[in-house]
Symmetry: C3
Subunit: 212 residues, 3 copies
């Protein structure tokens, strides 16, 4: 296997792990809201595929990535049914903690991929960085809207979207410096995921208006 | 009148009845939320036309069906004003029960039409079925989001989206078996609407996470 | 400076003032919800740029106006950070009252611009008027959805969307009468903004269902 093939394999693995982590976040929130299987499956879909879909609508890209690879749709559908069966049979409880690493890596990957696709379409740099953030973060925003909550990412005070933003700019900078593709990708993913994990470990906060 | 013309007439009738039933569901929910006429009209629009619009955005189809036939926009606008005048003058109360048949038929028709349009654009089968569900169900989802509620269809535990999904697959199967267009259409609409009405009559439930 | 140049300058001034007023409305609502800086910036973006973006998606226009002029994105980003710093340092409180004139003028301008763009794409008149309303009003609708509120414009009972609608039809009528561009623009903006300010001053109400 050549290094390029190996890199592709790693990226595909991160993409699948990240998508599943995002889908699981939707599954968990929907079951907390006592939704039925339709709601749980829809919220899992939207959490996993919504960010990339919104990016593609904004960039006017078709077909969507999940139309090109409908396996993702089937995968989420099967996992939703399986997860529900498991929860009812065994009283398994899913918690988010084990998902932190795949979630952070998925955030990094999606942010960088979204930025890269926007750059390929000659978008301005700030727009490309925002497209990265949309790809990484807006699945979760739409998940929370469907669950009738203020989006977690807007009020969590823990770095999430800012990690995505930083990863996007790291990727942009690396590309501007003519770094090889895999270096730019790794740097972007590493900064986003690394900062996210460090922020969780150290309990860093982003500023907000908490006053009075 | 030829059979084909008669079939077209029946379909047009179902489309109008279904659209009005969906619009009325928006009207009712918006008045319950004590919205003003702007909110009531907007929620009625979104409930009636939102699912098809979202499908067209996802499939990148233009013009929207309500841009091709702006009569629908006028119709909903006039009915909103008329409904409000009626409610204020006579204390008429609109209830959803009388709307069950037009709503179920509309669900069936919109699901099948959405699926058919996606198939015509060579989408994968699972994507085509989902586009049917989006067409039939997401007007109601957006209606509930605008009203700041968890979408009914996600937590109702009564079959609605699954009827739409079943109707979509029935249509896909009938087309794959080279059934004539009107047979495939009727089968899809019949399965979706029939299942929906049967489920309401027998109080069937879809599984969900209700535990502990 | 020719009269045409002077008119362009006035319009550019209104556009900037209106965009800032809309962004500030998002800033205020997000801080009230005690969001962090990510939420505040996102809600400010969506309030300011969401209406025009939704219009462009519905009309399938690309690039978005804020992609053509990314200065708007930077401006909102910088102002969000500056506003937050100011609030934390000085306990400044932003209130909506001072924003009434720029907000009303922005509403008028965006409504007329949205209508004009839809007309240029040969949309039916009712659709063009609705596109004006979407441009003027739906940034605020999306702002409120992100903040998990029933959109203010749907239940405020004070004319806002109807002013936008009236401005759009004024512009359409003026164009149909072959009025010069600047006359049609001023008439549309004047009707929308003027009615809005008058309605606030006189405490006019739009009807709704407030009964029982």
């Amino acid at each position: 296997m050549s290094p390029a093939e190996r890199a592709d394999l790693v990226l595909a693995g991160i993409e699948i792990a990240g998508t599943l982590a995002f889908a699981l976040s939707g599954f968990i929130e929907a079951t907390r809201k006592r939704m039925d299987i339709v709601g749980i499956a829809t919220v899992a879909f939207v959490a996993a595929l919504g960010g990339g879909t919104l990016r593609d609508i904004l960039l006017d890209r078709r077909p969507f990535f999940w139309v090109e690879r409908p396996g993702y749709v089937w995968l989420i559908l099967v996992l939703t049914v399986a997860g529900l069966v498991l929860m009812r049979a065994r009283h398994v409880e899913f918690t988010g903690r084990a998902m932190r690493w795949p979630d952070a890596l998925g955030l990094g990957l999606f942010s960088v991929v979204g930025t890269s696709q926007a750059l390929a379409m000659q978008q301005p740099l700030i727009v490309a960085a925002l497209m990265g953030v949309v790809t990484g973060v807006f699945g979760g925003v739409m998940r929370d809207i469907l669950c009738n909550e203020v989006p977690t990412v807007f009020r969590d005070h823990r770095p999430y979207a800012v990690c995505s933003f930083a990863g996007a700019w790291t990727f942009i900078a690396a590309q501007a410096l003519a770094a090889p593709a895999w270096v730019a990708l790794s740097a972007g993913i590493g900064v986003a995921a690394g900062w996210r994990m460090l922020a969780l470990a150290r309990d860093w906060r982003v500023p907000g208006w908490t006053g009075r």
